[in-house]
Symmetry: D3
Subunit: 279 residues, 6 copies
């Protein structure tokens, strides 16, 4: 569970983005200030739940007096029609936070659901699904958590916590060996080094120079199989390049350790959840 | 074009989210500090461009000395392989801002492209596509602009700039008439009032009470046609409820003024754009 | 009541502006840390109360342990000598927040009192008092609320929530018709359009083109009367231009819907309120 | 001149308060993006200019490409109709910053003008006008500067930069002597101590105990004269208590060093300045 | 005790600096989420305690549910092995805040301990130890408090709360008299004026012109004794210039009022304190 | 060189901490506004330079018009009396930024100088000096860079970028094996795992379980030698525990890879640098 200290500023900003300067003028005008409601957050689609903490925090930030009752937990599979939480209290607060909460919840659940589908597609193989840095600006910490909740693992969080040498770096450094040599000289002892390779020749060069992980980019299953054999346990192997639900099993079958997918964060459709007033 | 004063904090936060505390340690380690590059941002899919200002601002914020040359403008259709901008200068800055810039650009272009597809699907009808408040937390101002760039129009920006009375409000206010009467009493003279109706009976009630716009939710084309006839120009008519590329033409054919779609902001896949080093 | 989420940053910044880096060094030095007091906030002038939430929040932010007892509510008329709230607890907190709280309370009550006087002056006429964007930088949300509490209504909150076409816009657009045509084409369906007119000719042009409201600027009561007759209910009519307590009744008598006044926010004297230690 | 580092966040926040999320939608809709204007800021009343830096910064922050030409300087007397600055460039930027700039400029000029009037009223006497902490929340640094520009002097900036012992402190400390003794023990060697006295007996006690300045609160001119004689140069003398333009000369004639007035910051009407398009 | 309103942002930023985006991944991975601990903060060296409020706030901000029990108070002498506080609750929160809390506590206690040693070295003389503006960027308010807790007094807090004329100012103003004359003309009535003098001639000039305090820079004890005699109570005397524990008594013996030392804030070693799990 | 995007907020906050609300009132009062100076930053002690970018940024932020000329570069050894930079322009800006710039520069140079001394002490051995998380709250990014400039290497930046299992974690996880097993299961593929061991038995257990690095805490040189032999290249070896300039060579001689020291960041005295006006 991501720390409230880290998540709260994101939720607060999201609320203010929706409330603007004047707040929820519809509810102010139309609903008596003293009205109370009981509401439930309900799944309108089956999927995997994620973002519930952030979503419920939106209600709490708007009114700490609301009664919030969690019915399901992040990471759980939910079915259509299921209630995931119940919120009771001042109608003004419930309605004012509704959209912000649902926007957070449905996006994160969408990421978790997409990840889960992909992870299920390769069940039985040793490969794990990992995310990328192709996340929504401002929401990376939540999306990385949603990936974990959906059964995936996290790649690095940003540019500063691991070395990943890509084609442009190799070109500018003057080759695989030069790049790896420079990287090893500068890397702290707790920083791992991964290198992107496009060909088996590059892979051979990388293995010779020594590397913690190799990103095997846009290779066919056949080439991947060769690559895995060449690596032979000397480095973590990661396959990438537009891998879909359909193509993932064949990739996993090659024996790679990791399959990285940008689309589980950048293009997953939301999971539809709604808020219903129950009394 | 959205104001830099408003967009800059979003881009700055996105950069810091990726750079973390230590910055781009790969490039620091591997690429000589004095290296320079020429890079192009290239479309890997056809679509509609949006977010170019924000994306290029990421480069500029990291290094004001970069030379930035725009080749295409927001709102234009771009084809696969086309260059949309060229950036030259310090390799450290170009590589450090790359992912942040592309994340912004590809998301906004994805929204614009989805909107454009929907708008094209109903070309010839008077109806316009409008977005909703189902936007990405923290990015609403950019996504609303992307919708406009894709040929759509904006609904209200937040809870504070128009009155939209939904089913929950009606229930809590004690009916359509009571809700509208309260709304009109509190609304400023520059605030419009829209009401969501689920049935033609509610619509009749709303029209009698007087309203600027009606949100016709989850109605079949037949019912919509009746509704438009009943309204007869006395209010703006907006159809909503899981309208897709496939169902949109039939909805537009009913004569409604607006078709609102959440998915163009919450579930549009990104438009794939990449950065290539050219020398 | 404005949302705490929106108001708290304003109050927090105001406290820090007064406390500086070292805090209230007088009270630290002179008053024993364990001393407690009971204090009352008392009106030293009759008027209309506004800003009580913000003022009491200053005390609460400095010490959540203070006991705060509201005696009067925002929007109520208060007489000289009346107690509006009672605060008990640590003397250091009460004295440290005193000036910030009173600065907020007396300014907002001053705005509400001025608005009330103006609204009373035109009682019996249908016209309502509305405020402008001539508010104190940083305090608009509180001043808009104070206007409502004083019996006035709010004009738009900022540049982004309605279209108000002024003389400069008309000149740059190439005339009333061109401006209105452009405005209507770009305005969202929940955005109203108001136009400032200086002459009856302009008014005729505006009515012909269609407009939601007209700002009748600096017209004599006679001209206003003609204008109201010309409009004949087709648009909301707003009179503006240095309207005072003395001139307001004559303006209201012309039949306009709204009278807008900048001075109720930008030049209203404060309402004098003080804090007294009672034991 | 107050430092840009300090003032810029105030101006930036004021702009964002007016521009909201969507910016100036009127100008966006109505005025062609490429239109340019020449505009002048003109005094509509005579007075003393203050806040010009902050006001012009609003234009610069919105568009660094604007050409800004200062015609008058802060602190100068300006007459009705005089141009104080000229701004040329993109019409969108000039119109978007107009209201924010004028709100800052007219408020600060109002404070300077009120201060100037009061200072002029006591010209010939040695007394100086000083301000109080009764300033607008968030704008103290600008208002303190406006007071200086109007010929006044500044009292302490906040609770942390000098000791001012008021009646409540005296009561809680157990008398004038105890309060002064505690204050002297805790005060740093660069912190001055002022004490509020309501009677000549308290004054005698304060002088005996030693004090840097005395605040003579709500005394008649006769009592003030006695007080000044008693002090006999041993402390700075400050008269306070609802002193107006009319009563100030009699107060100044008593020989006090300082006359403090809250109303020059909390209740001064703005100085009316406007922006005119000149071509 | 410094106000929480002022200290909380410092502690919050320090926590976020350590937790980064992903939080404490070690504890997340290794320690069960439901584990609870009892921990004590223990001195590993004798010294003077300071910063306990800030340190304990780090735990509270991470988890308001932790039970925090203070055993010793800021300003007290503590011996090796002593427990200064006990914290019980969720292991994740205790371990996540540990380093941030200790970094704050050990630094502030280091400053207090250094100050105490220096104050003790001159016990019996009237001189007091004062700090300078040579503090850690971002932590001045805490370090100034630590100096007071260690038995020292505070010099000015920043550039804005007193006038201290140094050699560069004198040179640019055209001499001691010109500088003092300008300073007195501009200083508010609650602002004191101190002047740095390097020679007895400058001191004579300063005394003639009148000054609240003199900073006697880099003088030998003999010269200081002469200077104190010349001043003869007409100004506060402050000795400065690389004064150490060893040289301080001789300086104090000259009769100066204050001895200012930069190193107690900029170069004091930390006081070693640690956190032990007790069950 | 750390990114300006990351460093600027630190420098800006440090300037505002010193300037307060009213700015540099001494220079404002005493030095003519139009005065210009040429100043040099000069080393008053020999050492290693660090923090020059941050220090010069303080001048630039206060006045972008200053002319700044770097004479030496970060990481270089400087001798007493050497000029490291020259700054020319408005005296108000030079004097207003002086203390903030020097506070940053002297602290970072102090860290670099201490690190350099320690690195030199173990020259000839393969061991490298590494820092810890015992850094100054708010300044970690600058202090980590200063360590690198002084010839040291960086340990992890915070709790989120590597796994370091300490004694408390081991106890709460139920032993070395359980802790390592949990860590490996949760760690991303680019996250390294280090484990603190206090005994050779623990070390054996850790090596058996597999680990990237071992922190050998508080061991004698003899024990360290045994440990290094046991590890035999299977993990990075790090010695820690109050290692000083005197004891470091004996530790390095044991063959460990890394020697970590908290005191180079938490207790290094500053390097004395000053600003002199040269004309």
């Amino acid at each position: 569970m991501t720390l409230r200290l880290i998540v709260e500023p994101i939720v607060r900003a999201a609320l203010l983005e929706d409330l603007g300067r004047a707040g929820d003028i519809t509810t102010e005008a139309v609903v008596p200030a003293e009205a109370t409601v009981e509401a439930v957050i309900v799944a309108r689609q089956p999927g995997v739940l994620a973002g519930l903490d952030a979503a419920l925090l939106a209600f709490e930030l708007l009114d700490p007096g609301l009664q919030i009752d969690r019915r399901r937990a992040d990471g759980e599979r939910i079915s259509r029609g299921e209630t995931v939480a119940r919120i009771g209290g001042r109608a003004h607060a419930v309605l004012g936070a509704e959209r912000t909460a649902l926007n957070l919840l449905s996006r994160m659940s969408g990421v978790a659901t997409a990840t889960r589908a992909l992870a299920d597609a390769i069940a039985g193989y040793k490969a794990k699904i990992v995310c990328t840095r192709k996340t929504t600006p401002g929401l990376r910490v939540l999306e990385k958590e949603a990936v974990r909740l959906g059964g995936g693992a996290n790649h690095r969080f940003g540019l500063d916590d691991a070395i990943l040498i890509k084609d442009n770096h190799i070109a500018l450094a003057g080759g695989v060996c030069a790049a790896l040599e420079r990287a090893r000289r500068h890397a702290g002892h707790l920083v791992k080094i991964e290198l992107e390779v496009d060909t088996l020749d590059q892979l051979a060069e990388a293995l010779e120079a020594g590397v913690d992980a190799v990103l095997l980019d846009n290779m066919t299953p056949e080439t991947l199989r060769h690559a895995v054999a060449m690596v032979d346990g000397r480095a973590v192997t990661e396959a990438s390049g537009r891998i879909t639900l359909e193509t993932a099993p064949a990739v996993a079958a090659t024996g790679v350790d990791l399959i990285s997918c940008g689309w589980i964060t950048h293009s997953a459709p939301i999971l539809d959840l709604g808020l219903d007033i129950v009394e």
